[in-house]
Amino acid sequence: MLELKNLTFTAQNTDVNGKSSIRTIIDNVSYTFEKGKFYAITGPNGSGKTTLAKLIMGINEATSGSVIFEGKEITGLSITDRARAGIAYSFQNPARFKGTTCRDLLAMAAKTDDEKVIVDIITRVGICSLDFLDKPVDSRLSGGEIKKIELATTIALNPKVAIYDEPDTGIDLWTIDPMVKLLKKEQKNHNTTTIVVSHNRAFLEAADVLLLIKDGKIIYRGDLKGALPLLNDFSLCSFTNVCEGELNARCYR
């Protein structure tokens, strides 16, 4: 239902001497996501996972190749049109606003400000408390809180394809499991094609298909078991709860 065909994304890099070079971030990726399945995408930091997700959402413009959704070419479509077609993306680093509240975002996603509908969404999401509703989605929210709101807005859209970019970052240990269950439930009840970018084992285990990305290429597709030797090979970190990846120079892996 969602097909990537020779998808490539390059960016211009300028080094300290002012010399510019072209860097390929997503390298000729072809893959077809099937309706209603649960996918996990993992890979080292900087391998291109977020870039790939943003290419699907239309936030990044493909350098070449195409994205085909439900048989229609959408490569040239805007973010708005893709959202209206049923694609949703939960940002790895959600935007923070001044003044705009969680209720505002949910109302935009659900296309109504009906109190009952909004409360129903919060109840359905479960992990997001009702007292979030009238809080501004600004810099005062904690890292975990904003990720929960981000996830709720995606669910409120009732998308056909939901892409969650590291939904578990900043989320406490007690919420990871409910979050996995929630996404599974959404997948089942609404036949949502679910794509979760994550380093967390809980999501990798929950997925029907695991995609492993390295240097902008999909180097593995299949189940978790088959991926284990590869994952060990790259010493992929599965301890993101205690480790901040690249940012944390002294990783305890």
């Binding site: 940002f91 959600p94 001044k98 003044g99 505002d104 935009m108 996603a109 501004p136 859209l157």
Partner: protein
């Protein structure tokens, strides 16, 4: 007694559908149009005859007073001096605001000079909205001044907004805070076209343990200009914060100068200021919820000025 234009202006500045309940004073084209006092709230014309004195009895709770001003007469520049005496331990809301309707090529304006004395332990909320409507080519100007004196443990919350249509605005806010008092000022201004708005704020933190928080939100569209100056002058152990954000659209211009002065070693003063376009990640987020670019811009501005 209220014509259609008056009603529209009243609705815009005071969210009133007709004559308000409780105490009120409606001023139209420089003259008293209608007044009502209540058991606890007195309104009288001042001895100079150029404004009103509003006196709130000590201990008055949960009452409000509306004092809207309408300027619809061509060429009129209405100047008014109002005094507010808020009694000890009271808790009141004052809804002021000025609506200009300009239908001619003559300039019209209003200058409201408001002085507040908020008594010990009293709570005052002051809401002031400014708007100008009409198809006339005359320049509409609004130059409000507020001077606030907070006695011990008093609390004042001021919401000042200029919603649109005002060509020129020069605002001056002054405040002096007594011991244990606190104050929150939120100013929201939107300008467009060739409009100019300047806001000057001078807050003196005089008494021990007083607190001031000044928030300014500006949206600057078209070729308009907004300038914001705020000084926190700490003369005691106190806490003060200025937060000013300006969103620039089109060719808008802005100058923002927050100033902190600590005249006491235990003063704690902070400020945050930002000027810029709407952040890209905010636009992307709303577009990914299905909004068009323009809808996303509108929603972000709406939230920002809410």
């Amino acid at each position: 007694m209220l014509d259609a234009i008056d009603k529209e202006l009243l609705k815009k500045v005071a969210e009133l559908e007709g004559i308000p309940k409780g105490a009120y004073n409606i001023r139209k084209n420089g003259k008293l149009l209608n007044r009502e006092v209540s058991a606890n709230i007195n309104i009288e014309t001042n001895p100079q005859g150029n404004g009103i004195i509003i006196t709130i009895k000590p201990g008055t709770k949960n009452e409000s007073v509306h004092i809207p001003v309408i300027v619809s007469q061509a060429g009129l520049n209405d100047v008014v001096y109002n005094n507010f005496i808020i009694g000890e331990d009271s808790d009141v809301t004052i809804i002021a605001g000025c609506g200009i309707h300009c239908g001619s090529s003559k300039d019209q304006g209003h200058e409201g000079i408001h002085e507040f004395r908020v008594g010990r332990n009293a709570k005052m909320k002051y809401v002031e909205k400014h708007v100008a409507l009409g198809d006339g080519k005359g320049k509409r100007s609004l130059n409000p001044t507020t001077k606030v004196f907070l006695e011990q443990d008093a609390y004042a919350e001021m919401e000042l907004s200029q919603i649109g249509g005002v060509d020129s605005a020069n605002r001056l806010n002054e405040a002096e805070l007594g011991a244990g008092s606190s104050m929150l000022i939120t100013e929201r201004v939107m300008t467009d076209g060739n409009q100019i708005a300047t806001s000057r704020n001078q807050i003196i933190l005089k008494g021990d343990n007083c607190k001031a928080n000044m928030i300014s939100r500006s949206v600057i569209k078209g070729d308009s200009i907004q300038n914001f100056y705020a000084t926190l002058d700490a003369q005691a152990k106190c806490f003060g914060h200025i937060e000013c954000d300006a969103i620039i659209m089109d060719n808008g211009r802005n100058e923002t100068i927050p100033a902190l002065k600590a005249g006491h070693p235990d003063a704690e003063l902070t400020h945050e200021a930002s000027i810029g376009k709407i952040a890209n990640d905010q636009l992307m987020k709303l577009m990914s919820l299905g909004l068009t670019y323009d809808e996303a811009v509108n929603r972000i501005i709406q939230g920002f000025l809410k």
